[in-house]
Subunit: 161 residues, 2 copies
Amino acid sequence: MVVDPARTYRYRAEERLRRTGARVTRPRIEVLAMLLAAPRALTHHEIERQVNRALGIDRVTIYRVLEWLTAHGLAHRISGDDRVWRFNAAEDERTHEHAHFKCNDCGEVICLDKAIAARSVPLPTGYRTQEIELTVKGLCADCVPARADRHRRQGPAQHRQ
Amino acid sequence: MVVDPARTYRYRAEERLRRTGARVTRPRIEVLAMLLAAPRALTHHEIERQVNRALGIDRVTIYRVLEWLTAHGLAHRISGDDRVWRFNAAEDERTHEHAHFKCNDCGEVICLDKAIAARSVPLPTGYRTQEIELTVKGLCADCVPARADRHRRQGPAQHRQ
DNA sequence: GCTCTTATGCAACATGGTTGCATTTGACCC
DNA sequence: GGGTCAAATGCAACCATGTTGCATAAGAGC
Ligand SMILES: [Mn+2]
Ligand SMILES: [Mn+2]
Ligand SMILES: [Zn+2]
Ligand SMILES: [Zn+2]
């Protein structure tokens, strides 16, 4: 029996959406399914390319869906140094107490499984900690110098955004 | 003997600029002096308000000066979650191995003195660490709940950006 | 002062995201 | 199935933050 993986992710997306009690719409399903299928955080651009081209869903709608998913805990938003937000389906088990990795070459962002031991950073008196954000920057497996020659010929890997 | 503090910062700014061997210009002096005087990281906007209003220095020039100061190690740039860069004079002793604090209420950003013990976060195989960024988010001394009533009357502290 | 290089000012542009408002549609009820 | 209505979508215009191109101004060495 062969299953269509995209169909499977859509199904899981619908399920999660239904659990919120809010409307289950095509844009919400498609965007969330795409986030669920992705092994890394996606930009609005990447989502738009797939979901707008294939289904004509408007870019503003995609922005609104991403905002809504984030507000409802179905996704989370990662803000990088390139002024582009990236989104990831939120595995609700995994509380957002985890760190992120960002590739300095291709821009890829992934979530690192709970790795924050850096509790209790000392602050000036009167200041109060609420969250700690930790981002590791470096090279992803596709971009380590060992493969630098491929890059020189073809340019860096292109999930740049 | 009374000294004008702004004059002192300008003097220190000129000194640092001269040491780079590059041209010592009015915009560079003013922007760097302002960064030296500030107890926290400043946005382009904040700098523009002061330096453009008082001296008519163009906003593009301010952008270019900030970029130049950063490239020459006289300032460093902090990218937050609000797509606004903030700048700080670089105390050259303090290598950029320090963490940052950002107030969730008023947006204030400060540098925390070397506090990263979070070395060696485990990554997927093939990935390589280059830098680690740590940002503590919470409430600054002006914004802690103890003073929430003042905020309710007057709005949050206004160095929001 | 003169010259040469570099920095500045100004206008136009780019990017990523937001807002207002008319139209469509999902969910609930029958 | 069809009717109702709040909520979501599409579209156009907008905004904020930063960049680029190019003519002009001004540091610094002589
Ligand atoms: Mn994450
Ligand atoms: Mn800093
Ligand atoms: Zn990479
Ligand atoms: Zn504050």
